[in-house]
Amino acid sequence: MGSGVPTLLEIQTAMRRGLLDDGHARVAALLDDALAPADRLRIYRNTSRTALTNALRLNFPAVQRLVGEDFFAAAAETFITREPPQTAWLDLYGESFPEFLQSFEPAASLTYLPDVARLERAVDHALHAVHAEPLEYPQLLDIEPSVHRRLCFTPHPSVSLVFSPYPVDAIWRAVLTRDDAALAAIDLSTGAVWLLVERRAGEIEVAQLDERPWKFAEALFAGHSLSAALAVADDPNAAAWLAAHFAAGHLSDFALSNTESLVVAGHAQ
């Protein structure tokens, strides 16, 4: 900072650093209030931390109940310092919270916790995704059958897929309905789950798929060509699965890839 009057940009940069790193010396030098600069800055810091912790709590309610209020607050404090939000739309804050929990040492013994968080992230996306009209099959009638295999699809913004080696859907339901008996009865060794999460008529649905249809959907939703998705599926029922995605409104747009191999739709010509 120069010796003259600090600019607005310099003030805001100093305040941001003071709020994120909890240091007040740079801010104190800017203030007219000679008294208790640290206390003054801390009032803003507390409000900010409380708002962001509440946002995480709203977006990851099952994680919070699983680990308890104090543990969650401590995890949130670390996460907020490392990855504060980039936008004021906090409904989707915590995009990387599941991966953070995976590397958060105090939670290491709760092996299923990051996957519960991934399921909650998918639910959060489904709740808040923007509105989009589903793709209707007749919209494809003008496409030459000879190029059908080069079709790439965009999934509906509310739809996403979650895989876990643990029964995280059962855990999530039991925790949120406060069904302690159901939670106690869950056996973590029952095996993996392949889930599809979506918003249907305003309600959130978490459905279990079989492994092959889930992998077909994964390739399809990632924007790979139909040909590539069919190769991943390697199953005679794949055409029926595609029809089911149309019927359920899981797709919102399409494009033609210039290749049948694994490419992302966004890169198609």
């Binding site: 994120l20 203030l31 208790a36 504060p84 939000p85 004021a88 995704a129």
Partner: protein
């Protein structure tokens, strides 16, 4: 109004003059915005934003402004408001309404952004005076001058938060009546009231904190009466969103405000008749 009230509002269609919601809670495409669209058919809505950061030196977050515009297009609010504050720096949203230095530079930044917002969404907005806990040493004008200048230069209105005036005045040794007297009457489009708390500082001093968690105190009611005498019967909202009390306490607070507005309206009618 908060999400947990949606169903109750849809079921009972309460007899209220209008409702205010946080714009940021309706930016997704799910059920909240659809509920608000239905409620809006019967009840006028005020969209109160908390995240646009009108005072950011680095410019507005265009994506956030676009989301606000989309909510406004769908809801067609009767009022829209934001704050004289900043919340975004270096691409980080700091999740609080942070204080601005009261300088010509900050005033120019805020005015440029208010112009940008009003031309993007095609509506006049109101800007709310902040509650502040620090003052910058190189500020060159009092906050009331800053508020009046934003309204004069951009044509925007003012959301006068009477509790914020009271507690900032206490925190910084200002005269709250002088503050009210300096605001342009014809720009006042809404009033906020709220409770607040006091916190001890390390040096023994006290700061009053805006926390929306208790009854409006007597001195703020008095200041509100003065505001109504000066501004007329302006739509008033009591903010109480922490430690929310039983409904009858809220109703009692609202009735108190209504009674005072009634007195102010009588005054206006008498003046009209004269």
């Amino acid at each position: 109004m908060r999400f947990q009230h949606h169903q109750a509002v849809l079921d009972t269609r309460p007899d209220v003059a209008w409702m205010e919601v946080h714009t940021e809670n309706y930016m997704g495409g799910g059920s909240p915005i659809r509920c608000l669209e239905i409620i809006r058919r019967d009840i006028p809505i005020s969209l109160h934003g908390v995240g646009l950061s009108l005072g950011s030196a680095e410019g507005l977050d265009q994506a956030h402004l676009d989301r606000i515009w989309q909510v406004a297009e769908r809801i067609e609010p009767d009022l829209m408001s934001e704050h004289i504050a900043w919340s975004v720096s270096g691409g980080t949203y700091l999740a609080d309404l942070l204080p601005l230095p009261m300088t010509e530079e900050a005033l120019a930044v805020v005015c440029r952004h208010v112009d940008q917002v009003q031309s993007t969404i095609g509506r006049r907005i109101l800007v709310e005076n902040p509650s502040t806990y620090m003052q910058f040493r190189h500020s060159t004008m009092p906050e009331w001058e800053f508020m009046a200048a934003v309204a004069a230069r951009t044509g925007c209105g003012i959301l006068c938060d009477v509790n914020n005036i009271y507690l900032s005045a206490k925190n910084h040794g200002w005269d709250p009546l002088a503050y009210l007297a300096a605001l342009p009457s014809d720009a006042i489009g809404e009033i906020h009231l709220a409770g607040h708390s006091a916190r001890q500082l390390a040096d023994g001093g006290t700061l009053r904190i805006d926390d929306h968690s208790s009854r409006v105190i007597g001195e703020v009611w008095s200041l509100y009466e003065t505001a109504l005498q000066r501004f007329g019967p302006v739509p008033t909202l009591i903010e109480w969103d922490q430690n929310v009390p039983p409904l009858d306490v809220l109703v009692e607070e609202a009735r108190h405000a209504d009674a005072l507005i009634g007195v102010a309206s009588d005054g206006v009618r008498r003046a009209d008749a004269a």
